[in-house]
Amino acid sequence: MGRDYRQKDDGYKSKGPSKRAQHGDSWSANRKVQKGVKLIAEENSEVVQAFRVFQNELDTKHDKHERLVKLSRDVTIESKRTIFLLHRITGDEDRETVIKEAEDKIKLIQSTHILQIAKELQGQDPFLFQRAISPGFQEYVEAVLFLCYIKEKKLMTLEEVRGQLVFQVPAGEDSLAKEDSRKSDVVSDATPDGEVHDPDSPMRALSVSVSPMDYVLGIADFTGELMRMCINSIGNGDTETPFVLVTFMQQLYDCFQLLGNTPGREYTRKMSVMRQSLAKVENACYMLRVRGSEFPKHMLLDAISALPGGSTDTMDLDT
């Protein structure tokens, strides 16, 4: 996993001026507002001055929020593309090349968008901006889980997901950033990525922490991809994969059910979609078992589509 982070850092730095320009814009907008108010209140009254401080603080927060929403959206788009790419695997011949390509894409997401999110969030309470970033992270988790499953047939753990999101940045880059103890904790149990940087320039770790909730919701989305993969594999005449997939999905669904409704509304919603996906896969397996021997392979998919609730139109969880 030899990533050259510093090169990416340089790329980020070059965006500095545009960020400043954005700041300048909001400043001029404020001036406009102030002109209108002048008529009513004295410019220099204590109240107005206090509110100017508030204005500044709120704007800073909103700007950061906006930037994070945008980054999160970029992560979503790129993760989706990676997932589509992975669905293009049709046989053993192209398997390796597609996986390689997907890995590169994931690395690119990590080193551009997610690194920027990490930079935006350093020294901040990540929960303040949770709503802005969590859709992106869920989609990202879905993509890495899917990649990992295709590669190794296993569920990637939260620690592994987090381990990939620890970045090494030059320590002196900005003094604003405060090392908080939690961050360094994450570093200690991370994958040995840290070896890449050379020891004479001081580096420090910067990480974004994927919340357990985002991870689990990402798993729920991931089952949707498994369902698609199952139907695709039947289309390709593969009669073995569906049975492996159905077992795995059943396990996941069992675990989801075990937690019940406690995690919240979004969880419950995703669980019901998950149930539908599972039903489709189970139907497909049933079909394969019962009629697999009778049907010619190329007709199997049509037969499965004809089952009640067995449509191959895939439900999309991401609204």
Partner: protein
């Protein structure tokens, strides 16, 4: 694939048991926070009841005494906030913020009301935070959230519009004028903010009705010539308003 199968099973179940543990911890923490917040809500209600006295006919004259009493009560929140602070991890303020959002708005409001009744000035954020024994800066961990503070100020505006009416009933005709100036200035301040389409914005949209109400009161007393008699007998103590911005 059979050999990797058992591997997958254990990793799935361990993942979920870890998540379950996380949820349980989370719920325990929330439960404790809820208990701490409930005590604060109780205090906030008591303070509100105390200050409610100013709306009664005789109450305005007793405002300083009522404020003293309210200040005393408000002091207890300092300890309550400290207790709450212990239950919330330093860097997870916003994870649980919703639990005490309401009460910190309410406390900002009562603090602002006390300051207004005492000196007819707008409370500063530092003063409000000091009342609760918390910081104003996010970096210090437990702090008074800016939006909560602003919500408190908006609550103050609607309370003052009510006070304007009741002070007329109590025979104090100059107070509404001062309240009107004060709220106008508050409004000017809020108009400086670029609000997003959230609850603060919604509440701010209600401010104009408070202003309208106070203006109507001022109009009523003006056309009847009640306002111009600048000294209403018996209210000498109340007649030293600090300048409210119109200089």
């Amino acid at each position: 694939m059979a050999d990797t199968g058992s591997d997958a099973v254990s990793s799935v179940s361990s993942t979920f048991s870890a998540f379950n543990e996380y949820l349980t911890n989370d719920q325990d923490m929330r439960e404790e926070i809820r208990v701490a917040v409930r005590a604060m809500e109780q205090t906030a209600r008591e303070i509100m009841t105390t200050l409610e006295g100013v709306h009664q006919t005789a109450g305005l004259k007793e405002a300083p005494a009522l404020c003293q009493k309210a200040r005393k009560l408000l002091e207890t929140t300092e300890g309550q906030f400290a207790a709450l602070q212990k239950k919330v991890p330093m860097d997870q303020y916003y994870r649980f913020h919703d639990h005490w959002r309401f009460v910190s708005q309410r406390l900002s409001f009562v603090a602002a009301l006390i300051i207004y009744l005492e000196s007819e000035k707008l409370i500063t954020r530092e003063e409000a935070a000091k009342f609760m024994g918390v910081s104003t800066k996010r970096e210090d961990g437990f702090h008074l959230d800016l939006e909560d503070f602003l919500q408190g100020l908006l609550q103050l505006a609607s309370e003052l519009s009510r006070l304007a009416i009741n002070s007329v009933t109590a025979g104090e005709y100059n107070r509404p004028v001062r309240i009107s100036n004060f709220i106008q200035e508050l409004n000017a301040g809020f108009r400086l903010l670029n609000l997003k389409n959230d609850s603060l914005r919604k509440r701010f949209d209600g401010l104009k009705y408070d202003i309208k109400k106070v203006e109507e009161v001022v109009y009523d007393i003006s056309i009847r010539g009640l306002k111009t008699s600048a000294t209403v007998p018996g209210h000498g103590g109340e007649e030293t308003p600090k300048s409210t911005g119109v200089e």
